[in-house]
């Protein structure tokens, strides 16, 4: 009985705590005061002292930090054009905006983040920053409720349009239906037929401040700013994203269709491998330079994540090439790589480089992953869209310029294609060359491999590029005859043992039976 009462108590307490976690804290003068301090310490460097989105960090960021004075907020559960609820703001601060500099401030995910009370405090402070006095929401809730002005009572918080209990389950039918809705609602004009954010209007989009803005590449789940779950996606269609060309579909598409669409969009998200070793497949046929060659479809590749160069000036945080899918095949004489990455716009300046150490040491020692160093040069195979050819370069550190190899040392060939927002580039060379500035591919070991990428349409140039850490390329040696011999011997031994034991144990039984 005591245990029963205790468990009931625990249940009640935890559920009260859970509810308390979702309810907002009462707005008081003290909380506003605390909010201001927290804002200055944590938010002002990006969002500006007065909330203008103009702090000293802002100029390095794209998308720019929110301007809190403009009353324009993307992530809401309210009707298009209206303000977010306090809870919407709380959600954004708590989980951050993926793919941007806005990180989660939840003390549960980040030890030095903000507690719930601190997060509510800072939200109340942010709401005092509006330029428009009508939107200046420093007024306390009870004053609002008691106001004589009907406009005040018809306040933003009553414009809530989305209230998701639980989305319907995903089935083959909902996804097929969602695909039809995607077509009917013309999502593809911006987001592209395959969802790579490369639709025909993608390059012409502008936000409310006449700045260029890009439609989301829906295949990259980790870059959905408002969250990549079905409920999040549904909310974005329903409310639209204020300040962006993404409209609300709450009146034009029914709820059921919007859920189907959300399931379809969710199904477009591609998975990413976390492997760090690329195993090259040994084949006997001649290696193709055509990226569409059927040989490639039978090869297992890995996904390489790229991030911005934040190591040397000029630094660059606003990259678009953050994933390259790579495959490798080799024969007795040659090796070929195929690299594929999403790019909304084909551009003359699009460039991709594969990097290897010139010398491979027996131990762990490598050149620095960003273009080597003085004592450890790297060999780069660089493909440029404007020339549509692959050049061989060397580099000796990120502070030094790349050196193009002599014409007679250029022996990497390649080919590229750009189809529906995907660059596909093949680079091929003989395994071994007689140039001592080239990397040599010896089988039976690991060869470090890294990437540098430039998206021309994104303004990438020089050190403003996407970079990767070292990954490893593995070239298996064919198994020697000796290994087959030893394995065969083992098989014979086991068979002999089986025969011996069977005879012996069966004889034992007969002896026992006789006895």
């Amino acid at each position: 009985m005591r245990i029963f009462i205790a468990s009931i108590l625990v249940l009640v307490i935890t559920s009260v705590m859970a509810v308390a976690g979702n309810t907002k804290h009462v707005k008081t003068e003290e909380l506003l005061e605390l909010g201001k301090k927290i804002y200055i310490r944590n938010c002002s460097f990006c969002h500006g002292i007065n909330g203008g989105g103009d702090g000293p960090v802002a100029k390095f960021l794209n998308p720019r930090p929110r301007n809190f004075r403009s009353n324009v907020f993307k992530f809401r559960t309210t009707t298009s054009g209206s303000l977010p609820t306090d809870e919407d703001l709380f959600k954004t601060i708590s989980r951050g905006i993926p793919g941007t500099a806005m990180q989660s401030f939840d003390s549960a995910t980040n030890r030095r983040g903000l507690t719930e009370n601190q997060r509510w405090a800072v939200i109340y402070h942010i709401q005092t920053m509006s330029d428009d006095p009508d939107y200046n929401l420093w007024v306390f809730d009870d004053e609002y409720a008691a106001s004589d002005d009907p406009d005040d009572r018809a306040d933003y918080r009553y414009n809530k349009v989305v209230d998701i209990k639980s989305p319907p389950p995903s089935t083959r039918e909902t996804i097929t239906k969602g695909k039809e809705v995607y077509k009917k609602a013309q999502c593809h004009t911006c987001h592209g037929v395959a969802g790579r954010g490369n639709g025909p209007s993608a390059s012409k989009l502008k936000d409310e401040w006449k700045l260029p803005i890009l439609p989301r590449d829906l295949t990259k789940g980790w870059r959905y700013k408002g969250g990549n779950e079905v409920a999040d996606i549904f909310t974005r269609f329903t409310t639209g994203m204020n300040g962006t060309p993404m409209p609300s579909y709450s009146s034009s598409i029914g709820e059921e269709d919007r859920f189907a669409l959300a399931h379809y969009v969710k199904s477009l998200q591609e998975s990413v491998t976390k492997k760090r070793v690329l195993t090259a497949l040994r084949v006997s046929e001649k290696l193709p330079t055509d990226p569409a060659d059927l040989l490639w479809s039978g090869v297992e590749g890995i996904d390489i994540r790229l991030t911005g160069n934040v190591i040397t000036k000029p630094r660059w945080q606003n990259i678009t090439i953050d994933l390259v899918r790579i495959k490798a095949v080799f024969t007795d004489d040659e090796i070929a790589f195929r690299l594929e990455w999403n790019d909304r716009f084909q551009n003359r300046e699009d460039t991709m480089a594969l990097q290897f150490p010139v010398k491979q040491s027996a131990g762990e020692e490598k050149p620095h992953f960003l273009n080597g160093d003085e004592n450890h040069p790297v060999n780069l195979w660089i493909w440029r869209a404007d020339k549509d050819l692959v050049a061989e370069l060397n580099a000796t550190g990120y502070k030094n310029p790349f050196i193009t190899q002599q014409v007679e040392s250029q022996n990497v060939t390649g080919d590229a294609s750009f189809i529906d927002g995907v660059w596909s580039v093949v680079m091929k060379r003989s395994l071994v060359t007689d140039d001592r500035n080239d990397t040599q591919f010896n089988t039976g070991g690991f060869i470090p491999l890294a990437l540098n990428g430039w998206d021309g349409a994104n303004g990438d140039t020089g050190t403003m590029k996407s970079i990767s850490s070292w990954y490893l390329l593995r070239l298996e040696k064919p198994a020697p005859l000796k290994a087959f011999g030893i394995a065969a011997l083992a098989v014979l031994l086991v068979i002999a043992l089986e025969v011996y034991l069977t005879r012996r144990w069966r004889r034992d039984v007969t002896i026992q039976d006789r006895a």
Binding site: V57, R112, G308, Q317, H368, P480, W505
Partner: protein, 318 residues
Amino acid sequence: MKSKKTGGGQFWWTTITIGIVLALIKYGIPWLSRWITGSDLPLPVPGTLFFFYTIIILAGTFVYISSDETTIVSFLAPIKSVFRGDYGKLFFFVVMAVTPVVAGYFVFAWVKPAVVASVTLRIQHPSSNFPKKYEALKNPMREPTDAQIDEFIEQANNNSVEYFPQVHDEGKQFTNIRHLPFGPVTKFLAKLHSGTTDRGLAQLALMEKRLFEGRALYQINCRPCHGVSGGGDGPMAYGFSLRPINFTDSGTIDTLVEGYTFWRIENGGPSLPPESTPWDSAMPVWKHDLTEIERWTIMLAEYDIAGVSPREPEKVAR
């Protein structure tokens, strides 16, 4: 045929035990290391270690089984039954055919020259090339001098408080300290307006200004990797095989003397010795891009953001 199906317990218990232990070694250790470090990749565990664990477990079970007659009999009972064909002819032939093939496969996999990545056991805080002169360095920004306090009071009076160029941001941001809503600053300014200067308050206000400035420099320069709250989780961090340090973790900057942290910021990844894999480090060489005083100011804020204090240098008698 007389079948002896009783007493086979030992065999199954042994098989299950070995299975569980091997699974723990193979999947448990990597899972635990991922859980502890919070990283996607398990900590490297040498293959020889796995090998020795496996040998120890097999040897241990063997010793146990052969310890007395009844366990041996109990262990061998199910195996003997198979060989005697107690479970039917078909089962007997399947086992007899499959066993050599499986054995051959494992022997082949073992003998053939496999390419295995060597394991790097990395030393996070190397001291092999840490210059001794840094050991006792103190952050000069912690204790303002009298001259600095005087200068600050004058600047506050004239609305011409100086900030580092990056924070000042071409004049867009600050020329005074009125935007700092912190106790010492507001009290100091209130007194200043009424015509009195309180040096004690001025010192505290100056420290608030330095902390603010350090935070700004941190957010501009360090945040992309080390994160807005020092968690090593900045928006650029995912792409580096050596994850940026989480300053809030114990065992990072709180176990180091300030001079060490300063040296690491100054010289970055390339200055690390080979045992710390400098080729994987994305840490910039900040002496190229930040002045010495900017770096000390950042450190003031870095410890504050992480909520930890540096270790005091030990007083070594010479």
